[in-house]
C-alpha cells in the first residue's frame, strides 16, 4: 500500500497496538525545558520511577532566562529562578543531557536540538512545548505534549497515541523577492484558519518549500501548530542532509551511510492517499501581517484592517473584541499602523538566516525615533555566529538592542515584555491577547518585515526597501 511520509515514520515507531488502534509510539528524542517539566519530574520521584532513556532526553532552560548581557548575575524573579534551579537539579538527579544557562550552546530548545544534531530525519521528537512542530522540518515526526505526557515519556519513552489524518500543503512555484518562509506559513494559516489542521499531520511540499533552507523550513513547520495540526513535516533531501552532517550528535562514518540510506526512503509515495489537500501558488504569496489576536487574522501588507461585518458566525464577536484590543479601526491601511517596538527572535525566527535577513534591511539605517528594537538570538551559538559575520555590528549601529539567547518577548515570561497598549511588530508566533505583555499589541511578521517596520516606525511593505 502506498504510504505518506507520516505513515512511514509512524509505522517505524509503533511499539504496541491495541485492538482499537490506540498505539504506544516509541519516542527517539525527548526535549525538556524548565516550564513544563518540574511537575513531571516530581511525579517520577513520588512514584519512585527513573527516566527510562536518559541518553535520549535533552534539557535546556529557555523560557525564563534573562536575555540581558549581565545575566551571569542570576535571575531576579524568585519564581523564575526556582524553575530554572529545579531543571538544573532534575537534569543532574536523572542524568540527562543538559545545557545550563552559562553554556554557549544554551538557547531556545527548538533551536538547540537541530543545532546540536539531536534532531534527525525519521525520528519521533516530543517536548512539553507546542512549537516542537519545528523539528518536522527534518522529516521527523515532532509535536508538543502536556506535562502528564512529559512524565509518561520520561518513565516509558513512549506516548499513547492514535494516528492522525494526512494533509498535504503544496506551495507551487517560486516566491517573489521580499517573501519568506514566515509569509508562507502565515498565508497557509490565513487560508485554513487556526482549527483547519486539527486532527491532521501536515506535509508541506512543492517547489517553494524545496527551495527553502533548513532555517526557512523550520519556520514553516514551527507554525503548523498555529494552524491546529498535530505536526508539520517536510521530506528530507540534500538540503537536510547537508545541514545535519557533522553536527555533534549526528551519526558518523558507517552509521552515517546507513542512516542516509534510510533517510532517502523518507518521502511520500507518488500515489499516497491524502485526507485533505491545500495548494497555494508561491508567486501569489505577498508579505503578510496579522491585524488581530489570532494567527489566522492574516492579510497581505497591501490590505486594510477588516470590519467585523466581513465575517460570519462566532468570528464576528471575536473580531470586534480583537479590533478593540488592538486599538484598530476598520479600513485603516495596514501600512499606516505605527509601531512602538520591534521584536526579532523566538523559535520561529531566531536562527542565523533570520538575523541575516534583518541585517540586510537594517544595514546602514537607523531604528526610527521612538521605536525600540530588541534582537534576541535563538542560541548562544547563533549569537556567536552573528557576531563573527558582522551582523551584530549592523544591529548595534542601527540602534537595536542585541541580547543573549532565550524565548524572551515571544511569550514574555522573563522581563522582556510589552507595556499595556504598546504595539509591536514581532517575528514570533502568537498574537494572542496578553501574549507579549499585559494588554500588549502584537503584529506577527517576517524578520525582513520587522526590520522594515523598525526603520520606518510603521508596518511597511519590505518590497519597497529591496
Amino acid at each position: 500500500m502506498p504510504k505518506t511520509l507520516y505513515d512511514k515514520i509512524w509505522d517505524a515507531h509503533v511499539a504496541d497496538e491495541a485492538e482499537d488502534g490506540t498505539c504506544l509510539l516509541y519516542i527517539d528524542r525527548h526535549l525538556v525545558h524548565e516550564v513544563t517539566s518540574p511537575q513531571a519530574f516530581e511525579g517520577l520521584r513520588m512514584a519512585g520511577r527513573q527516566v527510562h532513556a536518559p541518553d535520549k532526553t535533552i534539557a535546556v532552560p529557555d523560557h525564563n532566562v534573562p536575555t540581558t548581557l549581565d545575566r551571569a548575575k542570576g535571575i531576579d524573579n524568585e519564581e523564575s529562578r526556582i524553575q530554572v534551579d529545579a531543571l538544573d537539579q532534575n537534569a543532574r538527579d536523572f542524568a540527562i543531557h543538559y545545557y545550563p544557562v552559562d553554556d554557549i550552546r544554551q538557547g531556545i530548545v527548538h533551536i538547540v536540538g537541530p543545532e546540536q544534531g539531536w534532531t534527525l530525519p525519521g525520528m519521533t521528537v516530543v517536548c512539553g512545548d507546542s512549537h516542537t512542530a519545528t523539528h518536522g522540518a527534518f522529516g521527523a515526526l515532532a509535536h508538543g505534549i502536556g506535562t502528564s505526557e512529559v512524565e509518561h515519556v520520561l518513565a516509558t519513552q513512549t506516548l499513547i497515541q492514535k494516528k492522525s489524518k494526512n494533509m498535504k500543503v503544496e506551495i507551487t512555484g517560486k516566491l517573489n523577492p521580499g517573501v519568506t518562509a514566515k509569509d508562507i506559513t502565515l498565508a497557509v494559516i490565513g487560508k485554513t484558519g487556526t482549527a483547519g489542521g486539527t486532527g491532521y499531520v501536515i506535509e508541506y511540499c512543492g517547489e517553494a518549500i524545496r527551495d527553502l533552507s533548513m532555517e526557512g523550513r523550520m519556520t514553516v513547520c514551527n507554525m503548523a501548530i498555529e494552524g491546529g495540526a498535530r505536526a508539520g513535516l517536510i521530506a528530507p533531501d540534500e538540503t537536510t542532509f547537508a545541514y545535519v552532517k557533522g553536527r555533534p550528535h549526528a551519526p558518523k562514518g558507517a552509521q552515517w551511510d546507513a542512516a542516509l540510506a534510510w533517510w532517502k526512503t523518507l518521502h511520500s509515495d507518488d500515489d499516497a492517499q491524502w485526507d485533505k489537500v491545500i495548494t497555494l501558488k508561491g508567486e501569489e504569496i505577498e508579505p503578510v501581517v496579522t491585524w488581530g489576536t489570532s494567527p489566522e487574522d492574516v492579510l497581505p501588507i497591501s490590505g486594510v484592517v477588516p470590519s467585523p461585518s466581513d465575517f460570519t458566525g462566532g468570528k464576528v464577536e471575536a473580531v470586534k473584541r480583537a479590533l478593540d484590543y488592538m486599538g484598530l479601526k476598520p479600513g485603516t491601511p495596514l501600512s499606516d499602523i505605527p509601531v512602538d517596538a520591534v521584536f526579532v527572535g523566538s523559535c520561529t525566527n531566531g536562527r542565523i538566516e533570520d538575523l541575516r535577513e534583518v541585517a540586510k534591511i537594517l544595514k546602514g539605517k537607523k531604528v526610527a525615533e521612538g521605536v525600540r528594537m530588541m534582537i534576541v538570538p535563538g542560541s548562544g551559538l547563533v549569537r556567536e555566529q552573528a557576531e563573527e559575520e558582522g551582523l551584530a555590528d549592523i544591529f548595534k549601529q542601527a540602534g537595536a538592542d542585541w541580547r543573549l539567547a532565550g524565548c524572551s518577548m515571544c511569550l514574555a515570561m522573563n522581563p522582556d515584555q510589552l507595556a499595556p497598549e504598546e504595539r509591536c511588530a514581532s517575528t514570533s508566533n502568537r498574537n494572542f491577547e496578553g501574549r507579549q505583555g499585559y494588554k500588549g499589541r502584537t503584529h506577527l511578521v517576517s524578520p525582513a518585515m520587522a526590520a522594515a517596520a523598525a526603520i520606518t516606525g510603521h508596518l511597511t511593505d519590505v518590497r519597497e526597501m529591496i
Binding site: I82, T194, A195, Q255, L411
Partner: protein
Amino acid sequence: MDKFEKLTGIAAPMPLVNIDTDMIIPKVFLKTIKRSGLGVNLFDEMRYDREGNEIADFVLNKPQYRNAEILIAGDNFGCGSSREHAPWALADFGIKAVISTSFADIFFNNCFKNGILPIVLPREQVDLLMSDAEKGQNARMTVDLEAQVITTSDGAEIPFEVDAFRKHCLLNGLDDIGLTLEKKAAIDAFEAKAAQARPWV
C-alpha cells in the same frame, strides 16, 4: 486521578471562538512548580482588572456561574500552547467538563489526564446547550459518561462520542503510566529491534 462517572452541575456559556491557552491561564502563572492552586487565576486577564478586582460582566464572576462545573465554549477551545496549566487551572476552579464544536489537539489530550471530559458536538447541539447554559443556576445539566449522554435542564438528551480507552481511564481514574508499564516487555522488544535497525538514534 479522580474518577469521572456522572456529573450534574451548572454550565457557564463562553461563546467566544478561539479561546486560547494564554487566556485560560496567562504565562505569569506558569512559573509554579506545582499542579494545584491555579483556579484562582483561571481566565485571569478576562476575569480581573489590573488591580486584581473582579470584572463584573465576566461570566464566571456572575453569581449564577461562580460554581459552574461545565463550560459550553466557542469553536477551537484551548488553542495555542501545550501548557497543562490550562486544564490544571480549570480543574482547580472546579470545571469537570467542557463542551464545544472543536478543541485544540494538545489541550484535548491534556484534559483527559486531569479528570476533565472534553466533549465535541455538532454546532446545533452546542448552540442548544449554550442557550440552556444562559439560563444560569436554574439550568443544571447532567453529563453521564457511562451512558455517553448529556441531559439538558429541560430533559432533552444529547448523545456524545468518546474514545473507548479514554472513557475507560476516566471512569476508573486510571494512571496512564501504570498501564503503559504493564507493556514493558513490548517496549523493551521494540527498543532491541530499533537498536539493530537504526543504531544511530
